[in-house]
Symmetry: C2
Subunit: 319 residues, 2 copies
């Protein structure tokens, strides 16, 4: 069943060695109050504390640091609704390369400002995947920049896999790991790391009801579009790619969906009990565990908390 073209255990280990000197070793936090509330021993991998405030720096850095000097001179291009944009901008800055970032015009201002802060060139476009791809293709044609897809790229998937590997190094006996699903880069990397480094750990995906393409695709066995896109989790609106879907099909145990109300409740619990700032997309994995807690009673579960980039002004609407 092993798929030879997939990122290998050695490649994930190499990625870890490559990026480790440049990223934060994020803590794994626990909360007695939440453990008691759910009847589950939970280990939160806090990627909201990661550089750029999200796990996305892992995949971006892994791709950029593996490029040659010759390739880097044309720059790097990508499209992203936010955290991958920051990640590529910072990774490019670290190696002294130019970054071209296509961003949807409706994405949070705090994210656009952060990308600008890293010195990247921003190209705003309509908030559709088609518009993003069209713009990025134009840039690549014009500049010869290297396109680094936000998730459907083995270099990126391999980088994201290092997050679960770190969690498993620290807490090797978790029965399950929950990770959110947007385009599938993190969940497929997580599934590979569990498969390679901790065979007894099952991996579960968590997706907003308002962007449930992965849930439907997982059930039907072929890539399906979401029937509608409407969710507070702005980082999880992307659609699976062929590479991520193939890994998800093989190695993810199940995918759960959660409503925006459930996401907000989970986010509030994390803020109040864990004392950490989580963005809506970052709370989706915990929301899914909370909703399905009966199936995990007495188990040890790892939760990847993916990002903490919020406009504090938005809190008035959420809480």
């Amino acid at each position: 069943m092993e798929n030879l073209q997939l990122p290998s255990p050695i490649e994930i280990t190499e990625a870890q060695v490559r990026i480790n000197p440049h990223i934060h070793k994020t803590p794994v936090l626990t909360s007695d109050a939440l453990n008691k509330m759910l009847g589950i021993e939970i280990f939160f991998k806090c990627e909201n504390f990661q550089k750029v405030g999200a796990f996305k720096i892992r995949g971006a850095l892994n791709a950029v640091l593996a490029m040659t000097k010759d390739d880097l001179k044309y720059g790097i291009a990508t499209h992203s609704s936010g955290n991958h944009a920051q990640a590529i901008a910072l990774a490019a800055k670290m190696v002294g390369a130019k970054a071209y970032i296509v961003m949807p015009e409706n994405c949070p201002k705090i994210k656009i400002a952060a990308v600008k802060g890293y010195g990247a060139e921003i190209i705003l476009c309509e908030p559709t995947l088609k518009a993003r791809e069209r713009e990025v293709n134009k840039i690549v044609e014009k500049t010869n920049a290297e396109f680094i897809h936000p998730y459907n790229d083995y270099r990126v998937i391999t980088g994201q896999a290092t997050c679960a590997k770190e969690l498993l190094n620290e807490q090797s006996d978790v029965d399950a790991i929950f990770a959110p699903v947007g385009g599938g880069g993190l969940i497929s990397g997580t599934a590979l790391s569990a498969q390679y480094f901790s065979k007894n750990t099952a991996v579960f995906g968590a997706e907003p009801e308002g962007a449930q393409d992965a849930f439907l695709s997982f059930k039907s066995g072929k890539i399906e579009p979401a029937p509608f896109i409407k969710t507070i989790a702005d980082g999880l609106m992307a659609t699976l790619g062929d590479k991520t879907f193939s890994i998800i099909q093989q190695y993810v145990k199940d995918i759960y969906t959660v409503s925006d109300e459930e996401i907000i409740s989970a986010m509030r619990l994390l803020w109040e009990r864990m004392k950490i700032v989580i963005e809506p997309s970052g709370a989706v994995s915990f929301a899914a565990l909370f909703k399905n807690k009966e199936h995990f009673k007495g188990k040890k579960v790892g939760i990847i908390l993916t990002g903490g980039n919020v406009d504090l002004g938005m809190m008035k609407e959420w809480f």
Copy 2:
């Protein structure tokens, strides 16, 4: 100059051994963005992640765990505006003792609810120190419970000292440590740990302008009342005791004051950049460093972030 009646290095080490199995080892976090913004290398000791959401569990547990079974049977009494109350309630619960907690009727509901949640008996009183002391004396007379003062008690000071000791174990080369001053339990413990375990580390206190008794007392050389009490930092309204003041006079380098606006700005920066939830009192030490950043350019500074117990509803007023 060593004062023989003060808690000794050995007592602080013993306290650490005594309480360590029962508390969280809180992480020391850093932020490139904040380091760059201030021109200072900052190490944040995150006691907002501590049990009960604040460092106060250290002093409370140190006092309670050192009591004999015979003493414990009468219970434990204290007065507190919040975090010490939760700490004593939890410590008492851990050893199976009864806790009587006198709390001012205007303290945050979330803190009263948490104390109730640990099974303590709550006695509400007027929000003055006199009323608190009167109520707690009544209880001690009636029940024979052991009174554990929130700060002016060497057992408590010794417990709070373990926080800076942990920070210094992890980051031994800090030039300075900032801690907030309310009644002075944390700052005096911090000063003792620096004095004993890291002679080259200077300790600075941070106090709200609207509760500046420690600032004035430090300058005049005798315990002075605050001219007025009005601050968003509800955990720092207490007045120095003789034991804490004596240690502060000997071992604290200076005390800075900050306005409520400066506290709110600091809190917001910590939420947005560090992705952590800090209560107003918990952000005062960072507010003081931010205000005085010119004096610390190029230095390494430890900041004790003391607590994260906030009513999320309050954010609408703050931000």
